[in-house]
Symmetry: D2
């Protein structure tokens, strides 16, 4: 099952600045080979359900291995059977109507 | 990796009332044997990462098999390494301070 | 416009345990007189749009006033025009189908 | 209080394709003059708390006025007191570490 997800991973207990931990996760997501797109409050990810959630799990596990004691993520995930759709499709469909 | 998650599954394209589809998902989540707690805007789920996300995946797949063409879920998921924590622990910790 | 919302407020930079800050917010939400229901990953809130978001804003402001330098919240909010609906309605509608 | 938010507005009961309704909301958000950035699963918005949530409220109200009977939004919102931060700052801080 193909999905488009949006993931915001928040490390808790490492202080106010979390860009180092977010960058660790961003690298993990990119190394999966899944299509990703970083934005200011998360990352779009496109791929098979299992691969997408394995990638997010690896982010949690890696942060914990680096000493982050608590991680809280907010995820949106969408699947559809009527037609295939990519990250670019979704953005273009809206922009064409603006 | 043990997690506490909160999942809100929204079927799209089936009309305004979605309680039938939400109940299908609620049954799937309960049949997993994972600890769950329904609330007005989602369901708390406690268990191993892989089992929790396999359950949510099964909800998407089942709704699609029933003819729902599009499903969009909003998920919060938290993991921590400092101590084990249950759904009841989280609620009690806050209530003790009220 | 009446809404049912679900709010999860995460204080960042105060350490791994956040139950003190979550309890501060829970008290603020309850003192508004809005109907609320705490669960393990957030709080359901029922009321007028402006009152609900004024309450969540007050949580952010109060945490900042208490020295929390960063707050990140995850919110679901739903409105509908076909019929009035309460927190209890939403839960009962699903439970009746289980 | 300045915030960076991320908003995903889902119209329910209008069918599988929701790009028309999403475009209506995107126009509303842009007409506010707030800084916005569309992505594949929502829109980043930067501005004062009251203006940001007035804009999201206007999206719900406008969709209802157009006949959409149910709208469910997923919102992330962050505020911080340690330093000012823009949408571009957040992205650059992560990209510099990749």
């Amino acid at each position: 099952m193909k999905v488009i997800a949006d993931v915001c991973i928040v490390p808790i207990g490492v202080g106010v600045s979390v860009s180092k931990e977010v960058a660790v996760c961003e690298r993990i997501l990119r190394e999966t080979g899944l299509k990703t797109q970083l934005h200011a409050y998360g990352t779009n990810i496109e791929g098979e359900w299992d691969e997408v959630f394995a990638a997010v799990k690896k982010c949690h596990e890696t942060l914990h291995a680096l000493g982050v004691e608590r991680v809280s993520s907010s995820i949106r995930v969408g699947s559809r059977t009527d037609k295939p759709q990519t990250i670019e499709d979704k953005i273009r469909k809206v922009q064409e109507r603006l």
